[in-house]
Symmetry: C2
Subunit: 194 residues, 2 copies
């Protein structure tokens, strides 16, 4: 067994999977490495893959009509990332995904994943549960966007993702929160002054 296997075992920890099923699973994953600045997925690409982060950091962002970037998601160790709107329907990406800290990933294609669901039902459960968690956090984010000020959203973000904050630039946080870098700067100043 090489280290790749160990990492995939880790991915499905908590799910009892036979040795045989595990062979089926690991054959469908491919490893890849990215450097800071690399674009993993471009807007308008057809989205075939779902990506699992072993290490590093990525961000999925959307560019609106006026050219502004809006970050939908960051992904660090043990997170999945893709353009799911496109991935689930095998359509074209509306977002791009870039590497913001050198990263190591596994990818699996939609086709392989659908086959895995049939061959190894625990995998479908695994992804359903992942999706449930992601769904719940999107739900909280929507409620936060509806009910909180920029300052509140910032402090919530910092409290919720202290590990992500360390890896990213302030302008990435701003684009995630839906504010400008200038506003974020003023908010941070304000907080620093107690």
């Amino acid at each position: 067994m090489d280290t790749g296997n160990i990492e995939i075992v880790e991915m499905f920890k908590g799910f009892s999977i036979t040795q045989e099923d595990f062979r089926t699973i690991e054959n469908k994953f491919q490893h890849l490495k990215l450097h800071k600045g690399d674009i993993l997925l471009h807007e308008n690409d057809i989205v075939y893959n779902n990506y699992y982060v072993l290490e590093g950091c990525l961000r999925a962002y959307f560019i609106d009509d006026s050219g502004k970037e809006h970050t939908l998601q960051f992904a660090v160790k043990d997170w999945w990332i893709s353009d799911y709107t496109a991935f689930f329907s095998t359509g074209k990406a509306i977002m791009s995904i870039e590497c913001i800290v050198d990263a190591s990933l596994y990818k699996i294609s939609k086709n392989d994943l659908e086959h895995l669901y049939l061959e190894v039902p625990q995998i479908e459960t695994y992804f359903r549960k992942k999706l449930e968690k992601a769904f719940a956090s999107f739900q909280k984010r929507i409620l936060g966007n509806l009910s909180q000020s920029a300052k509140e959203r910032y402090t919530t973000f910092i409290a919720t993702y202290p590990n992500i904050e360390q890896s990213i630039k302030n302008y990435h946080i701003a684009s995630y929160l839906g504010i400008t870098t200038e506003s974020l700067s003023r908010i941070r100043k304000d907080i620093a002054l107690k």
Copy 2:
């Protein structure tokens, strides 16, 4: 067979389910009716159930610290509704759900649903796919909130959910879009003037 069965068959259209599995499934659903104004779920309730709408309209809303309501979701025919943040983790509701048009529902408990996933794998697939769709639409909503003006969000809402618009008050739309009723009124006036 009573009409209930027919409705549940309809629920899973497109999924080939044996007669025997179908008996297992239908036994876990319970029917209920609501009148306009009824509260299906209160904030702080433990959330045991997921609800399927046969007819009528409901809304899930969150009340923030200042007492303002924010609508997360509407549900009309063939939609599911619950406080999923709580349902998935069997925790306390952070939202309430009220009936805004007399409604007829089916409910299924989390426990029964988890058992169904094991007994009838197509059910897990059904809910995974539902979740994928809901996830994608939440994603679009977040991007819309980040990148669009109130007027743009309103026109997008009307275009996306023309069937829902008919059932609900303007102040419900406003609380979904994250604006005040006054602002929505001005936006509508503006649009009416071309």
